[in-house]
Amino acid sequence: MTSTIAMTTGILLVLIGLFAILTQKDLIRIIVGFSIFDIGVHVIMISIGYISDATAPIIENLSQLGQSYVDPVPQALVLTAIVIGLGISAFMLTFAVFMFKKRGSLDINSFRDLKW
């Protein structure tokens, strides 16, 4: 049940983020949509690793080893994915600033160079 709720949240976040990416005109708002999309994917990945009534995979002493723990592998992957998401956001923002310096606008409709 818990993972179903969280997965629904993640799917809704993915849809909202994709909607923002597809329909917004302003570069900065497109990047905000990208970061919403990113968090949605992370929520889905973590909820796939959730086990019913399990606890975090941090073993405080060895006698607790029989308890049930959630899957540590998706958590490790998401840990790195969040940091990479920050790097990519910074990269895209730099491009947005660069485009603004070149064209004086952030509206994607005013970038017509490669439009056919």
């Binding site: 606890t55 975090a56 941090i58 405080e60």
Partner: protein
């Protein structure tokens, strides 16, 4: 008994987050929304501590520590941005 207390605490916290989100949605000016952001951040520290108690894992409190030390910087950045001093 302890469970009921945790539930009541979480209910109160959820209510207060709802109030601050109301200000975030409605707030006519940006400073109103920045204050609502700060309030929601501080209230979520208490959510994490209560959850750490109710799940029986005290190590979750480290997350609340990170929040407590870093949440105010976001408000500072927003304030400096609005003040044109960034």
């Amino acid at each position: 008994m302890a469970d009921q207390i945790v539930y009541i605490a979480l209910l109160i916290i959820a209510l207060s987050i709802g109030i601050s989100m109301f200000r975030f949605v409605k707030g006519p000016s940006i400073p109103d929304r920045v204050v609502a952001f700060d309030t929601a951040g501080i209230i979520s520290i208490s959510v994490i501590v209560v959850l750490a108690h109710s799940f029986g894992r005290l190590i979750y409190v480290d997350v609340a520590l990170v929040y407590g030390l870093l949440s105010f910087i976001g408000v500072l950045v927003a304030a400096r941005y609005l003040d044109r001093g960034l």
